[in-house]
């Protein structure tokens, strides 16, 4: 992820935090014209949610790739009888967690949910997601400006995305 920053790949946190934020924003605009400003904290990441591949969605969301971590605890069923409602919970022992995202590799759009964890909020989220078929569930945790992930395969008996 070094070199060849094309504007899209600019890490959002760098944009948000950097003293040179104005300069960076400027670069992004030059490179991409009317591209949406990724610096806007509460802007809905539309493009990331449209990606078919989980890697593409993660890159669009966070501007970097994740490394595997055993400091993320992913609670997911081995077998989900109903793919329309799969309970997934995540907690992490990483410090300075700022975001947690849930992806299902085999769903039509991989990204399911992305949560922002402000300072003072626990790095722990539970929610219910849809799974089209048996797939890896991927959880990405942003902590201390770095990106970590873990995954688990969940077998789905009845898919939750129709078709």
């Amino acid at each position: 992820m070094t070199g060849k920053n094309n504007g899209f790949a600019l890490p959002r946190r760098v944009i948000l935090q950097g003293v040179a934020s104005v300069a960076l924003l400027g670069l992004g605009k030059i490179a991409f014209g009317a591209a949406p400003a990724f610096a806007a904290n509460d802007k809905y990441p539309d493009e990331a949610f449209k990606q078919k591949s989980s890697d593409d969605a993660i890159k669009l969301l966070y501007g970097k790739t994740a490394e595997k971590s055993d400091k993320i605890k992913l609670d997911a069923p081995e077998i989900a009888e109903n793919g329309a409602v799969v309970p997934i919970a995540v907690s992490s022992t990483l410090s300075d967690v700022t975001a947690i995202a849930f992806l299902v590799a085999e769903n039509p759009n991989a990204l399911v949910a992305a949560y922002k964890i402000p300072a003072g909020t626990m790095p722990s989220v539970a929610n219910r997601i849809k799974m089209a078929r048996t797939s890896n569930v991927i959880v990405v945790v942003e902590a201390g400006g770095k990106l970590y992930s873990t995954s688990k395969e969940v077998k789905v008996t009845v898919g939750g995305c129709g078709g």
Partner: protein, 103 residues
């Protein structure tokens, strides 16, 4: 007016645990109805929890979140009797907001 949002926030003294359940179809746009026609996408995109004027939790959701979504998290602080504000906006621009007392 009945709210689409049911929220339960419980303070343990040091932390406040929040559970929310929202009534929403969360149509992904990938499902066909009985006639074989695609049900257009309609899902909550953003959900925000505010306490004491600050955002304590924010969600960006896609169509892959289950119908009538549920979410649970916890934050440090939060006093019994204080307000927790919850609001969402969906892909059609509809919104709802509620304020719950921390128990």
């Amino acid at each position: 007016m009945a709210s689409t949002i049911r929220v339960r926030a419980t303070s343990s003294g040091e932390t406040t645990e929040v559970q929310a359940l929202i009534q929403h179809p969360m149509d992904s746009g990938f499902i066909k109805d009985a006639k074989g026609e695609t049900i257009p996408p309609h899902f909550i995109q953003q959900l925000t929890f505010e306490y004491d004027g600050k955002v304590v939790f924010a969600a960006d959701w896609g169509g892959g979140v289950s119908k009538d979504p549920y979410v649970k998290f916890a934050f440090k602080g939060g006093k019994k009797g204080d307000d927790l504000k919850v609001s969402w906006v969906d892909s059609k621009g509809k919104t709802d907001t509620t304020t719950a007392k921390i128990l």
